[in-house]
């Protein structure tokens, strides 16, 4: 359920980058002052372990399908929440870099969705409260499953929020939620089972490993959690209402602001005024007729629009623009490829020349 770049707006991506970046800085600071001096190599190797463990699957009883370890919970059990959050962030970063899982703009979203909830919510508030050091009991299994499910549900729900706030997908909120949550309920159960199986083995083979996170690090005070959640909720809410209700174009808005074409009287007015200007400009400049569906007049058929020579404030379609657009687009593609081939030839030549 990695969030993808193609589905989020820069505003949402940037916001989540800021939130995750802040959390990384906060956790890095906590880790730096940690008394466990072997923490840094431990974090690195355990991050590699999470990756490698995901190569190995187990069969899910009675379903014929298979699952693997997610990682957030077990990392928190071994390293404490701050270090575990950083490791999850690293795992997701490497996935984004090498497998294009998610993507760079969505990385902030993914770190928050998959790192924050297990480390700062599911583990301290659910798993630890349930298990109370009694690994391997049925209580521990139930605790692991509930914690994994809750962590993933929260993550999936924020995927929905982030996607909605971005306004690129047309999926209605309710449908999206109904689609995401059951899927992640199933994934959560599987992850909980995997986590409990591994933890109960470790508890038998080397119990001290699970107690290496000192109490002071393992117990997260609720305050940063609640503050983090509150900030995220407020920003997400704000972003959602701005960018979903108006036309989503954060960059153009900020460009208008930077270019100083507006005096911002009040923030609200400024945004709407600049957005209005942006709309005017996009209508004035040769641009595609494609606009969001709501703006298309019910009565207008494409043919009628094509016949209308005057560009409308929200021109639904203009045959001339379309043809030019399609031809231009295709030619640009061809040109880009040609340039690519030329550059490659040049790159080879230059390297050979140098070598």
């Amino acid at each position: 359920m990695h969030m993808a770049d193609a589905l989020i707006s820069p505003a949402v991506g940037g916001t989540m980058w800021a939130i995750s970046g802040g959390l990384i800085a906060y956790c890095a600071n906590k880790v730096k002052t940690s008394i466990r001096d072997n923490l840094v190599p431990m974090m690195g190797v355990l991050g590699a372990f999470i990756f490698a463990a995901q190569m190995i699957n187990f069969s899910i009883p009675g379903t014929g399908s298979s699952g693997h370890l997610g990682g957030g919970l077990i990392l928190t059990a071994l390293l404490g929440p701050y270090a575990a959050f950083l490791v999850m962030a690293s795992v997701l970063t490497v996935q984004a870099f090498f497998f294009a899982d998610g993507g760079l703009l969505a990385l902030g979203c993914n770190i928050f969705n998959l790192g924050f909830f297990p480390a700062f919510v599911a583990y301290p508030l659910i798993y630890r409260a349930f298990v109370k050091g009694q690994y391997g009991t049925s209580r521990a299994w139930v605790g692991a499953i509930i914690a994994a499910v809750v962590g993933l549900q929260l993550g999936a729900f924020s995927v929905v929020l982030e996607t909605k706030a971005s306004g690129i997908s047309e999926l209605p909120f309710g449908t999206f939620v109904l689609m995401m949550l059951p899927i992640h309920l199933a994934i959560g159960v599987v992850e909980g089972l995997a986590t409990a199986a591994v933890v109960s083995f470790v508890a038998r083979a080397r119990p001290e490993a699970l107690q290496t996170a000192p109490a002071s690090e393992a117990s997260v005070s609720l305050r940063p959690v609640l503050i983090g959640l509150a900030i995220a909720a407020v920003i997400m809410g704000g972003v959602a209402s701005w960018f979903a209700s108006t036309h989503p174009d954060g960059l153009e808005w900020s460009m208008a602001k930077v270019s100083g074409k507006e005096e911002l009287e009040s923030p609200g007015d400024g945004i709407h005024k600049s957005l209005a200007e942006v709309q005017e400009r996009t209508a004035f400049l040769p641009d595609y007729g494609f606009k969001s569906g709501e703006a298309a007049p019910e009565t207008a058929t494409p043919a009628e629009h094509a016949a209308a020579p005057e560009p409308e404030p929200w021109p639904a379609v203009n045959a001339g623009t379309s043809v030019a657009g399609i031809v231009g687009g295709l030619m640009t593609l061809a040109l880009a490829c040609l340039i690519g081939i030329a550059l490659r030839a040049r790159s080879i030549q230059r390297t050979c020349g140098n070598g």
């Binding site: 193609a6 590699a48 400049l285």
Partner: protein
């Protein structure tokens, strides 16, 4: 992820260590430009397609200069596609307002925005993969630190990357020996738990030995590195040129202007 993904990471790592004009650019410059690229691409209204085409130039230039195999990268992009496809495919189903015609076929807004999503996906993922393939993890990590990411984070990120190759090798051996003894059936949960548990304990032992080796060479909690800066004027020109291009392509639909020039259709 499976074994095949694993081979992929090794391949990316190899590509990242080549020496080409694209690889010689400073990692920070490439990282900043790529991020700007993604932000600008994602800032387009959701029904734009043709205005996005000029942006193809950036990943293509990077891939070509870096001599990254195109087929390989395309395959990687396709493997990553399902989530965007899964969410994007709802657009044609939900937004059926016709917005344009090609010949006599009316195209709905949903299909246009779906096309736009997939095209953006292609662009953003392509650019990100091209960045990594032209830079490599180690140079990227150093760039992250220079750009202000906390050192502790960067150090353990690079440790993760370093030990990926070691731990996954162990995991691969365990998996193989388990498969040999189970005639290919997937593992039962209990067996899985002890196998992954073993891998975990061995990883923890490994970390302890690494720590020991660090201490033996004077590690005192602070990892010091010597990374001479390599940001030169050509990097600055690269950044400035790319940003200028992105902004122009964002403000004006270059593809359409190009098309009008070609079709002679003055509007």
């Amino acid at each position: 992820m499976g074994i095949t993904d694993w081979i992929e990471i090794g391949r990316m790592d190899e590509l990242g260590r080549m020496d080409t004009p694209a690889h010689r650019l400073d990692a920070r410059a490439k990282a900043i430009v790529t991020l700007a690229f993604i932000v600008v691409v994602m800032s387009f209204p959701r029904h734009d397609v043709s205005a996005l085409t000029p942006f193809l130039l950036y990943p293509i230039a990077l891939i070509s200069l870096g001599r990254i195999p195109v087929g390989y990268l395309a395959r990687k992009i396709l493997i990553a596609a399902p989530f965007a496809l899964f969410i994007g495919i709802f657009n044609p189903l939900l937004d059926r307002t016709p917005v344009t015609t090609i010949g006599t076929v009316a195209i709905s807004g949903g299909w246009v925005s779906f096309g736009s999503i997939m095209f953006r996906f292609f662009l953003t993922v392509g650019a990100a993969l091209a960045l990594v393939a032209c830079t490599g993890m180690n140079r990227l990590g150093a760039a992250l630190e220079r750009l202000g990411v906390p050192r502790v984070f960067v150090v353990q990120l690079l440790f993760l990357y370093r030990y990926l190759f070691v731990v996954s090798d162990q995991a691969g051996k365990m998996k193989r020996s388990a498969e040999m003894r189970s005639s290919g059936r997937p593992l039962r949960l209990r067996v899985y738990g002890s196998m992954i548990g073993h891998l975990l304990l061995r990883s923890m032992d490994r970390a302890e030995r690494v720590y020991r080796a660090m201490v033996a060479r004077g590690f005192d909690g602070e990892v010091r590195v010597l990374r001479p800066s390599s940001f030169v004027w050509s990097d600055a020109i690269f950044v400035a040129g790319c940003l200028l291009f992105f902004v122009s392509a964002r403000l004006w639909n270059l593809a359409e202007a190009f098309g009008r020039l070609l079709t002679g259709g003055a509007m």
